[in-house]
């Protein structure tokens, strides 16, 4: 059926209405698509935030556990004055006290100047480990005197005592008379280790 001009004009209004429907429909789809895109973006942001918070929470829980475990050791280091500045006077006092208490014949010592052993990276500042090497010369009646001396030194605190070297030799002196003659001499190198925590308060 061929349409006349008049009939085509009659189809104009329905066509406009149909186009209007189509435009409104397309608008609905567009707005729905935009809404969907925004909702997806919002969901992605929320998911990222949730994941980050969950990870942070997991980390802090782990950190809390680790801190709790290490806190006792840290406190002990603090109480033994291993953590903090060197206390050379206390070291000297301790050696004198041990010599007297253990009735050692002769004790000579010399503490070298402090040097940095290692610097561990921390936050917000590093933790530095220092060592002052002490050379001790002992005159001994028995080798056990050396062991007691070292044990007493460790118990005195104020540093961590890491023995690096000990040479034990016979003196070869003859025993006799009323004076006590040392049978052994010992020479030890001991690192007196202290820790400086740059982030520590007070």
């Amino acid at each position: 059926m061929t349409l006349t001009r008049e009939e085509l004009q009659k189809l104009a209004l329905p066509l406009l209405i149909a186009i209007g429907f189509a435009v409104v429909g397309a608008g609905i789809i567009y707005s729905a698509g935009e809404g969907l895109r925004m909702a997806q973006a919002r969901l992605a942001v929320a998911q990222t935030e949730r994941r980050q918070n969950a990870e942070r929470l997991a980390r802090i829980a782990e950190e809390e556990r680790e801190v709790s475990q290490k806190l006792d050791v840290y406190k002990q280091l603090k109480s033994l004055n291993i953590l903090g500045e060197e206390r050379r006077l206390e070291w000297a006092d301790a050696i004198n006290r041990i010599r007297v208490q253990r009735e050692l014949l002769d004790v000579r010592y010399r503490v070298e100047r402090q040097k940095l052993v290692t610097s561990a990276a921390g936050k917000p500042a590093n933790v530095d480990f220092f060592a002052s090497t002490m050379r001790v010369d002992l005159q001994l009646l028995h080798e056990e005197d050396l062991l007691r001396f070292l044990a007493d030194l460790r118990a005195s605190g104020n540093a961590y005592y890491a023995v690096r070297k000990c040479v034990l030799t016979r003196t070869g002196q003859a025993v006799g008379g009323t004076t006590m003659t040392p049978r052994l001499s010992a020479q030890c190198d001991i690192d007196l280790i202290t820790i400086i925590d740059r982030a520590a308060k007070g």
């Binding site: 059926m1 349409l3 009659k10 189809l11 329905p14 066509l15 209405i17 149909a18 429907f21 429909g25 609905i28 789809i29 729905a32 698509g33 809404g35 969907l36 909702a39 919002r42 969901l43 929320a46 998911q47 935030e49 949730r50 918070n53 969950a54 942070r56 929470l57 802090i60 809390e64 801190v67 290490k70 050791v73 840290y74 280091l77 603090k78 291993i82 290692t118 561990a120 921390g122 936050k123 917000p124 500042a125 933790v127 480990f129 062991l147 961590y160 890491a162 023995v163 070297k165 000990c166 034990l168 030799t169 016979r170 280790i193 820790i195 925590d197 740059r198 982030a199 520590a200 308060k201």
Partner: protein, 517 residues
């Protein structure tokens, strides 16, 4: 839905009905003469552009069966038009109803029932009036064209059936075979009492059946024909008494009210008779076949096109709305998910704050606390004390009283740094100390072998070897030993046989080590 008007055309008067809402309403009655046409024109002037259907209930309706080659499309249309033109002088109101494929051994043919009115001039002025009023003519139907639809509504399922109705035009009889119209006739009636009308129906039905047999439209022998007679209101019992079935015809009397219900007609004017059934079907379920030409229906077709375009737009809009709705549902779901995620994020943040608040109080940062302890443990692990080594030496010496120790050199260092470190000669193959490259406790023991003759090289060597082996136990490994007599190929072996014995005991040096973690 647009209101449809039905012009019911009879030989005397024409009636204009308005169809809608499941009912019929009589809008006007017009005489069948020129005055009636004029009145109809005037009536249309007040309602221009309406939607119209015409239902003709006239006696002069011709039915003629033809066969044409089995064709489709334009070829079929052309041949149908040619056959109609051959059959009828005026083809303005003529149609061809397909009766299906004709059984033929020679070639495929299609059976057609050509139908038209013997006097189309009865209808032409009325169609012209509609044309002049810009009315949209949906179609021109006759009561017989609507009979198959009525038969279906009355419950006829296939087979041969006669539909008998009493309309304003007279007694209408339609023969429907397998759901297709085959023949119809209209017998004019005068006002009769119900009994007379029933008897008239019976006699006319038998006459029609006989005629159909003559036309060979009905087989002479065979199953009885079902006759559905729609009795006028209140006359069903009278009709049932009068219409007795026999071997040829089986009568089913249908009450008028039931028939109205069957076609879904709820409201009809009181004066209307059985033609209401045909009119309602023309308004609600018009058959594809009708008499009006394409030119007469042009406005209607354009109107349908208009509606189709709008409907297509609406369907598109609906589809978009459904799709958009589904998307918005998805959006709502995503928003819910986002809300849940936000809630979980907030909860985690709150929990974090709570844990942080309950954190152990330290005088440093958590990070420094950790590195200080970790590094200190590392240093402590790599430190040692001479006690263990001295105890070990004492225990071994208890088993070797002939050995006299001059010095013990205990140190912490790298075993590899001791020059020329190599496995001991009697060490197990491949038992290279694992102290070689790592920090270890290294003990160097120097001493003498007593109570053995200096000339007993083998004995002294064996005792020192045995002593060294005993020291290289309890976690210690032998690093080096220096025997009183160098018996290796690399060394220098010396002797002073026959000379005076100096009494000096042979000296040895043994180095053993224990690795630190």
């Amino acid at each position: 839905m647009a209101t449809r008007r039905i012009l019911y055309v009879t030989a005397e008067d024409h009636y204009l009905y308005r169809a809608g809402g499941g009912g019929l309403e009589l809008e006007g009655k017009f005489p069948g003469d020129d005055l009636g046409v004029s009145a109809f024109r005037e009536h249309l002037l007040s309602r221009p552009g309406g939607l119209f259907s015409v239902v003709a209930d006239l006696a002069g309706e011709d039915f003629h069966e033809e066969q044409i080659p089995f064709l489709r499309g334009g070829d079929r249309d052309a041949i149908v038009q040619r056959r109609l033109a051959q059959r009828y002088r005026d083809t303005r109101l003529a149609t061809a109803l397909s009766l299906g494929e004709a059984p033929s051994a020679e070639r495929r043919n299609e059976r057609l029932l050509l139908a038209s009115f013997t006097n189309t001039q009865q209808l032409a002025p009325w169609l012209d009036a509609l044309e002049e009023a810009d009315a949209r003519l949906a179609g021109v139907y006759s009561a017989p064209l609507l009979a198959p639809a009525l038969a279906t509504k009355l419950g006829v399922r296939g087979g041969r059936a006669l539909i008998v109705t009493a309309t304003r035009a007279g007694l209408r009889q339609c023969y429907v075979d397998q759901g297709r119209l085959r023949f119809a006739r209209l017998e004019r009636t005068i006002d009769m009492v119900p009994q007379a009308l029933a008897m008239f129906v019976r006699s006319e039905t038998h006459r029609l059946a006989q005629y159909l047999v003559t036309l060979r439209a009905l087989p002479r022998e065979g199953a009885p024909v079902q006759v559905f007679v729609i009795a006028p209101p209140g006359q069903r019992e009278v009709f049932e008494q009068a219409l007795s079935s026999d071997a040829r015809l089986v009568f089913h009397t249908v009450d008028y009210a039931n028939a109205l219900q069957s076609v879904g007609l709820k409201k009809v004017p009181e004066v209307t008779r059985a033609e209401a059934l045909f009119l309602h079907l023309a308004a609600t379920k018009p058959p594809r076949e009708q008499f009006a030409s394409r030119q007469d229906r042009r406005r209607y077709l354009v109107w349908q096109l208009q509606r189709g375009i709008v409907a297509a737009g609406a369907a598109g809009f609906l589809a978009c709305a459904l799709y958009g709705g589904a998307k918005w549902l998805e959006v709502m779901d995503l928003r819910d998910q986002a809300a849940v995620q936000q809630l979980q994020a907030r909860t985690a943040a709150e929990q974090y704050e709570r844990i942080t608040a309950a954190f152990p109080v330290t005088q440093t940062s958590s990070e420094n606390l950790k590195v200080a302890v970790v590094e200190f443990r590392r240093i402590a692990d790599r430190s040692a004390s001479p006690e263990r080594a001295l105890i070990h030496i004492s225990q071994v010496l208890a088993r070797f009283p002939q050995m006299e120790i001059d010095s013990v050199n205990w140190s912490v260092g790298r075993a590899a740094e001791r020059g020329g470190l190599r496995p001991a000669a009697n060490a197990a193959p491949g038992a290279r100390p694992d102290t070689a490259g790592d920090v270890a406790v290294i003990v160097e023991v120097s001493g003498r072998v007593n109570a053995t003759q200096r000339t007993d090289y083998r004995g002294i060597t064996a005792q020192v070897e045995s002593f060294a082996t005993a020291l290289a136990a309890s976690g210690y490994q032998l690093v080096e030993r220096k025997l009183p007599f160098d018996i290796t190929s690399e060394g220098t072996l010396t002797g002073d046989i026959g000379a005076t014995d100096t009494g000096e005991a042979p000296r040895f040096t043994i180095v053993f080590a224990r690795s630190l973690p």
